[in-house]
């Protein structure tokens, strides 16, 4: 490997690295605005100037200069410092210096770097330029006078998000960042430009003037808005979660998160269940915990086990599902289900419901078949990774299901199961590529599984995967799904499934653990709802037990790869609400089946003892061979086309449905008039 000297210290580097990267290898920090590891190199801010020998006797932009064998790089000479100070002075000429009223204050690259390279006064006496504000939709607030034209936002939206909506118009000192005639940015990843913006030009609209970064308590946690389990940082002040930011996790989300992950959190403060309720004469009345729990216990004790059922929702942590399962199993109940959409997975080996390529590993695939899924709305961050892989070239993607703009090119094969089952005999270009592929993968979406003929579709897909030796991947759309399946939260012997449980007269007591995606209108059972929001489940409930949302409890989540991740409590549950597992523990005592754990640690110990596979936190099982023949049941395939599981991206769960920001985004996306936020 070639060797260069950085400030006199020899460093070995990989061929093709830039001078900036080599300097970073040597531990030298280079100031920069436009350069970003995950974007193309623009080289237009000039802040990263260094001296390189041999070369012209002037400072050079290190981000765009390839390093060469024998280079001598200097990052701290007087010439470099003077050059950077010059760049900084020019950047600040037209910058308004309105830090006291700027939301970026305290986490601003320009602010930080001006400490190192700024002057204490200005030599500029002329008029500063002012730039009109731009409309970029309900999430991105613009103060364009602050823009330093680094074009990170343009490059992100064009390259990573694949929705070329932002551009740099005009020229010279008049350049402006804008969308086309004030169009909202139509990407599910749009708000990442707020993190990328090194100054306060693009800031968060919902978070505008809410808080300063140093006032916030930062809690590292895990996202539950989709099944990827993106790494997030929850910023809270007092009892309120003010914002969510991405954390770096190369294995899952790199450093992006979807707009829903970021902005659904205002839903955590709305329509919350903050105390127990009991329905009397058709109306809910506030009740005490003792009263509510006793009523539930009485109903549970009075009902036959085969007339009791429990359904777990899409945002639940492992602990609450484990406690629920333990309690109801102790009561002899077999009617358990965590699959509100009725997806036909759960029996058989664990690998059959996992994304076995792993999210990072999907980049090694050379042919990918998407069945009944639109990753752009079901897992936007995964979609960005697929796009990245597609841009790298030598990737063929085929789609069976709904046709949509996925931000990358694909071959559309067909709409329904017939195309899937006929694939082996097809002579299309895609099948040719599939036959020649070295590491093909199939990604099966929830839309293909949650159907009446789901089991048959699964078997057909497994057949295709077996024929072409494809890696078996299931892309779930619910954060709790893999965890629920891992716990065996599925109907036992002669147990009813979720859709059977809500049928008329099927049960006497129905326990909903945060389950809000079911049609409960036919159910005649006495309904207990343990959850966070006044959504579908609570509307039908006879007793409401207020639980904790994902930011309010320590919890384990299993993402679609089967990776167990630990979420952390950022704030306390609202009002009288309690952590879900402790409610179940209290209930178990009243039912006379006391659960054998008094603390979360004991619960987790039991969980890991019963399910050792869940004990490996932050580990994604990969490379396991799946017995594809054992997946699904061969059966009649209907000719109904696959429909995507996520119909409205911004409104998939109770938290998002309670969020005003998400409602605005949904209205924007559907082209309807914007709901005024004020």
């Amino acid at each position: 490997m070639p060797i260069a000297k950085v400030n006199g210290v020899e460093v070995e580097f990989e061929p093709g690295m830039t001078v900036l990267q080599v300097a970073e290898l040597a531990g030298e920090e280079i100031p920069r605005f436009c350069y970003h590891e995950r974007l193309s190199i623009a080289g237009n801010c000039r802040m990263c100037l260094v001296e390189v020998k041999p070369g012209p006797p002037k400072p050079q932009a290190s981000c765009a200069l390839p390093a060469a064998e024998g280079n001598e790089i200097f990052t701290n000479t007087p010439m470099v410092k003077k050059a950077r100070e010059g760049v900084m002075e020019f950047l600040l000429l037209n910058h308004p210096l309105d830090c006291p009223i700027c939301d970026q204050g305290g986490e601003c690259d320009l602010q930080d770097q001006s400490v190192g390279y700024g002057r204490d006064d200005s030599r500029y006496g002329g008029d500063k330029r002012a730039v009109e504000e731009k409309a970029m939709g309900p999430l991105i607030k613009t103060v364009m006078t602050r823009c330093i034209q680094c074009t990170r936002c343009v490059r992100f939206i064009t390259e990573v998000a694949g929705v070329p909506d932002i551009g740099l118009i005009s020229r010279g000192e008049d350049v402006e960042i804008t969308t086309y005639l004030g169009k909202a940015v139509a990407s599910e990843l749009s708000a990442n430009v707020i993190d990328l913006c090194p100054v306060g030009a693009l800031t968060s609209k919902p978070y505008a003037f809410n808080a300063r970064p140093w006032e916030l308590k930062k809690t590292e946690s895990v996202d539950v808005m989709d099944a990827l389990g993106s790494a997030i940082r929850v910023d809270s002040r007092g009892a309120a979660v003010l914002r969510v930011l991405p954390r770096l996790n190369e294995e899952i989300n790199e450093e992006w998160i979807s707009d829903k992950t970021r902005y659904a959190v205002d839903g955590l403060g709305r329509q919350r269940l903050d105390r127990p309720y009991i329905r009397e004469a058709g109306k809910l009345r506030p009740a005490s915990w003792a009263e509510a729990l006793s009523l539930v216990a009485e109903k549970l004790k009075g009902a036959q086990p085969d007339k009791i059922g429990a359904i777990a929702g899409d945002l639940q942590d492992l602990e609450s599902m484990k406690a629920t399962k333990d309690l109801f199993s102790a009561l002899g109940v077999a009617n358990l289900d965590c699959r509100q959409d009725g997806m036909a997975l759960g029996a058989g080996p664990r690998e059959s419901w996992l994304f076995n390529s792993t999210i990072a590993g999907i980049e090694d695939a050379d042919v990918i078949l998407l069945v009944g899924t639109n990753p752009r709305v079901e897992a936007p961050v995964l979609n960005a990774r697929l796009r990245k892989r597609w841009l790298a070239g030598a990737l063929t993607i085929g789609v069976i299901g709904e046709q949509a703009d996925l931000t990358y090119g694909y071959e559309y094969l067909g709409a329904g199961p017939a195309t899937l089952s006929g694939l082996a005999k097809s002579k299309s270009e895609f099948v040719k590529a599939l036959k020649a592929a070295k590491s093909p993968a199939i990604i099966l979406g929830a839309g293909a599984l949650g159907r009446a003929d789901g089991a048959a579709v699964t078997a057909a897909a497994a057949g295709v995967a077996k024929t072409f030796n494809m890696t078996w991947n299931v892309l779930h759309s619910a954060a709790a799904r893999v965890g629920g399946l891992d716990l065996g939260f599925i109907p036992g012997e002669d147990g009813k499934s979720a859709s059977d449980m809500v049928a008329k007269g099927a049960l006497d007591v129905l326990f909903l653990l945060g389950a809000d995606e079911l049609d409960l209108s036919k159910s005649t059972a006495f309904t207990v709802y343990l959850g966070t929001h006044g959504d579908a489940g609570a509307h039908k409930a006879d007793v409401i037990l207020p639980g904790a949302a994902y930011t309010e409890k320590d919890g384990l989540y299993v993402n679609t790869e089967g990776r167990v991740q630990m979420g952390q409590k950022a704030v306390f549950p609202k009002g009288e609400a309690r952590e879900d597992w402790s409610i179940l523990r209290a209930l178990s005592e009243r039912v006379g089946q006391t659960l054998p754990y008094d603390t979360l640690a004991q619960l987790r110990a039991k969980l890991f003892a019963d399910h050792p596979v869940l004990g490996r936190v932050d580990h994604a099982p990969s490379g396991a061979m799946v017995d594809l023949g054992a997946i699904g049941d061969k059966g009649e395939l209907s000719d109904q086309p696959f429909a995507n599981a996520v119909k409205a991206f911004y409104l998939t769960n109770p938290v998002a449905r309670a969020s005003v920001t998400m409602a605005e985004c949904a209205a924007q996306a559907s082209g309807a008039a914007m709901i005024a936020a004020e």
Binding site: I169, S170, R171, D174, Y180, L181
Partner: protein, 227 residues
């Protein structure tokens, strides 16, 4: 130069005329498949040739024709100042050079003429026939001062000749482009001053060349070295 924006009043739609469409195809064919976007500048220029200016619907049509995002076309159209983003005069688009050589040779007078006849720069005149603007150097410095009117250069102007020229345009005539003082190209005013000797041109001074200039010196004849 100021911030370039699209005009407030835009036509409903834009379509290439059959003649322009033929040229569009020629331009697109110059680039390899998948690289049609390279034709964006020629296409915008064709739009401007057809309509006199580049309208917002035209940006969308160009984007669609080249299957590229409309924001990219917008970037190009606002970057290059030769694309007019609002309607120009029906008779002439007058672009007066105001850069140093022209300025020293009296571009200020031409600018005053425009100001007097048409009003403020970057606007249509009251009768809608003219649109004038000051532009940077157009590379005709030896014929300064000059103005580009529509597609041609008009050079060696004075306030009087310029005014007469503009009157011709207003009357619907097509004045002859080039120097107003009828000099040939950029040759000196009033005829040539050097190389006047006729014998330079009648061939009398020609004689055969013995050695070509810069030819390598001939190798001297040397005796073969003794064995």
């Amino acid at each position: 130069m100021s911030v370039r924006r699209l005009a407030a009043n835009q036509p409903e739609s834009f379509a290439f005329s059959p003649a322009t469409l033929k040229e569009v195809k020629v331009w697109i064919a110059k680039y390899p498949a998948g690289r049609q976007q390279s034709a964006v500048i020629p296409l915008l220029w064709l739009v401007q040739k057809q309509e006199g200016w580049v309208s917002e619907p035209a940006l969308r049509v160009v984007a669609e024709t080249l299957s590229m995002p409309v924001i990219r076309v917008y970037e190009v159209a606002t970057f290059y100042t030769m694309f007019m983003l609002e309607p120009v005069g029906s008779h002439a688009l007058v672009q007066v050079c105001g850069t140093t050589p022209c300025m020293l040779r009296g571009a200020g007078d031409l600018i005053s003429v425009c100001q007097k006849k048409f009003g403020n720069r970057d606007h249509k005149s009251a009768d809608g026939k003219f649109y004038w603007q000051e532009v940077e150097c157009m590379g005709a410095c030896s014929n300064a001062p000059m103005a580009a009117i529509n597609d041609f250069y008009y050079e060696d102007l004075t306030a009087e000749t310029f005014e007469a020229l503009l009157d011709d345009f207003a009357a619907g005539k097509k004045p002859k482009p080039g120097s107003a003082i009828a000099r040939q190209g950029s040759s000196p005013e009033g005829g040539a001053l050097v190389l006047l000797d006729p014998s330079l041109y009648d061939g009398t001074r020609a004689k055969p060349i013995k050695t070509l200039p810069n030819a390598p010196p001939k190798a001297r004849k040397t005796k073969a070295p003794a064995p």
